[in-house]
């Protein structure tokens, strides 16, 4: 079950990352104040970044912090403040009957089942990683390797996401515009 050559620092790093992730996630779903939720989310994201570094995906760890924690969560906070929903979320009991029960059952079954399936397919006894690892293939750094892949093999996807970003920006502008005409909710996009 436990692979060879587990070193203490590795385990410690893993545990730290794991704790940050889980506690942060629980915090997101537990806090009443949306601002506190957002801050918990940041903690989770940091944990994920640590896990990325541990997995030799350094570039992605950086992107995670910059884009996710630095931009997306800020955007969340901005909207929270803008809409003024930083009040407490009132009701203790879910107005939808059985929602929590069904949700809980469903999620537990799904996750347990997935883990079981993973176990059954022998990943635990599998080799944790192949000898050289990804990042140092051919002595290139992670960034170089990633860049090479994005701009050659996955070039089309790259261009498509560029287009997607443009669309997203246009969409956001259109959505947030104040209507001068009579119709209110539906945008004229």
């Amino acid at each position: 079950m436990i692979a060879v050559a587990l070193t203490i620092p590795d385990v410690v790093v893993y545990v730290v990352a794991a704790l940050m992730i889980v506690v942060g996630a629980l915090g997101v779903i537990s806090f009443r104040n949306p601002v506190h939720c957002a801050l918990s989310l940041i903690m989770t994201l940091f944990g994920v970044a640590i896990a990325f570094i541990e997995q030799e995906a350094q570039f992605l760890a950086a992107v995670e912090i910059i884009v996710y924690a630095g931009a997306i969560v800020i955007l969340f906070l901005f909207v929270i403040m803008f809409l003024g929903v930083d009040r407490r979320d009132e009701v203790r009991v879910d107005p939808l009957v059985g929602q929590r029960a069904f949700a809980g059952v469903g999620v537990v079954i799904t996750i347990a089942g997935i883990i079981f399936l993973m176990a059954r397919s022998h990943w635990i006894t599998g080799v944790p990683h192949v000898a050289t690892g990804v990042a140092t293939k051919g002595n290139n750094s992670n960034v170089q390797e990633l860049g090479r892949a994005v701009f050659t093999t996955y070039l089309f996807a790259f261009e498509a996401t560029a287009a997607l970003l443009v669309i997203a920006v246009v969409g956001a502008v259109v959505l947030a515009r104040r209507e001068r005409a009579s119709t209110l909710e539906s945008s004229d996009a």
């Binding site: 692979a3 590795d10 990325f52 997306i72 909207v79 929903v85 939808l96 999620v107 996401t161 997607l164």
Partner: protein, 101 residues
């Protein structure tokens, strides 16, 4: 480096589960969005783990794109939230039932 991939995969699964539970249970649209972000991160973690185990940079490339798309999605999604909920006082999704009929 030598952490078995199993540990990361379980971690990712748990994170995903928490995010899913939160998505189903919360009423506020913004919190639901944050839970979506949790799930996306779980997926990213899984991809990176497998990328390491198969020595294929494609996994990391995927994570790269996922992050881009997540950013775009949040942008547009929050735009919708703003547009819809500016007219109402609360952000509860239980009140959005116009698609019933």
């Amino acid at each position: 480096m030598s952490i078995p991939i199993a540990w990361y995969l379980v971690l990712a699964a748990v994170l995903f589960g928490i995010g899913a539970f939160g998505l189903l249970t919360k009423r506020s649209a913004l919190i639901m969005f944050m839970c979506i972000e949790l799930m996306l991160n779980a997926v990213n973690l899984t991809f990176v783990t497998f990328s390491r185990s198969f020595s294929d940079i494609g996994g990391q490339v995927t994570v790269f794109f996922v992050m881009v798309v997540a950013a775009a999605e949040v942008t547009v999604g929050l735009g919708i939230v703003v547009a819809v909920f500016r007219k109402r006082a609360s952000t509860s999704v239980d009140e959005l039932t116009e698609l019933k009929d």
